[in-house]
């Protein structure tokens, strides 16, 4: 296994996430795609740590911070989606266009 294998996996996962974030109509689907992109970044960080700087664990520490921030992001995001659903009765991104609660 070389570094390129892991980087290619990370790139492919990131690309799938971009595609989902651009094309899903459902807001929860967009959030899921963003999670996929976070995971791609984490794979890259862990791979760089393993192959280029095996003496330290800084890459893994940064990946841990990304996980924490992603957890916070998804909690706030889902709460916002819940509020929008209560106010507008829709979860589709193209219907949420009035910039007003």
């Amino acid at each position: 296994m070389t570094l390129a294998h892991y980087l290619f996996l990370g790139s492919a996962l990131f690309i799938v996430g971009i595609f989902g974030a651009l094309t899903r109509r459902n807001v929860i689907g967009i959030l899921m795609s963003v999670e996929l992109m976070f995971n791609a970044a984490n794979i890259n960080l862990a791979a760089f740590n393993r192959f280029l700087a095996p003496a330290g664990v800084t890459g893994q520490a940064v990946a841990l911070f990304i996980m924490t921030v992603a957890a916070a992001e998804v909690v706030v995001g889902l709460a916002l989606v819940l509020m929008i659903y209560r106010a507008r009765d829709t979860v589709y991104a193209e219907d949420i266009n009035i910039l007003r609660g």
Binding site: T2, A4, S11, V16, R24, N39, A46, R50
Partner: protein
């Protein structure tokens, strides 16, 4: 050999379920497959020898975020959603963007082709703990503040709008 097998099976699990996550019509299936994809990423961490990341990926992503997504999907969905198209009409343009980005990323990855691991992986939990209490102490405290803010924000946003209760009628003594 075993390492190769583990990497390819985990990569196939991750990518296959990720592609299904962004293309399937039923959002509940999407959420379940997201959990499977995150599980595959945990397996990739295991093949990288990142033991603590593997454990926290299982705890936070598979046990937390995927379950939260499933809850949200079940709270928000409608049965009519199962028959609606879940992909907007910009998917051709999105495919173009994706192809260009992938070509660029592959060119970048080719720059590091052939780099192999210099040494076998070592346990990372103890160095991670030392790092969090040493060099990364300030970001560690900041991220706990971020989590607290997210907790309060979630409670604030998701509580019901309450009209103030009518003033209680007191007894004749008032």
């Amino acid at each position: 050999m075993i390492e190769r097998l583990a990497f390819y099976s985990m990569a196939a699990l991750t990518l296959g379920s990720a592609i299904l996550v962004v293309t399937m019509r039923n959002t509940v299936h999407c959420a379940l497959l997201l959990g499977l994809s995150l599980l595959g990423v945990a397996g990739v961490f295991a093949t990288l020898g990142a033991d603590f990341l593997f454990a926290s990926q299982l705890l936070i992503y598979v046990g937390g975020i995927a379950v939260l997504m499933i809850f949200a999907v079940m709270l928000l969905g409608r049965t009519a959603d199962l028959h609606l198209r879940q992909v907007n009409e910009a998917w051709m343009a999105a495919l173009l963007v994706v192809a260009i980005t992938l070509a660029g990323l592959v060119r970048l990855v080719k720059l590091v082709a052939g780099v192999t691991a210099p040494s076998p992986a070592a346990p990372a939990t103890r160095p991670l703990g030392l790092l969090m209490m040493g060099d990364f102490a300030v970001p560690f405290e900041l991220v706990s503040l971020v989590l607290l803010a997210a907790l309060l924000g979630a409670v604030f946003f998701s509580r019901k709008e309450e009209t103030p209760p009518p003033p209680a009628t007191r007894g004749p003594s008032s």
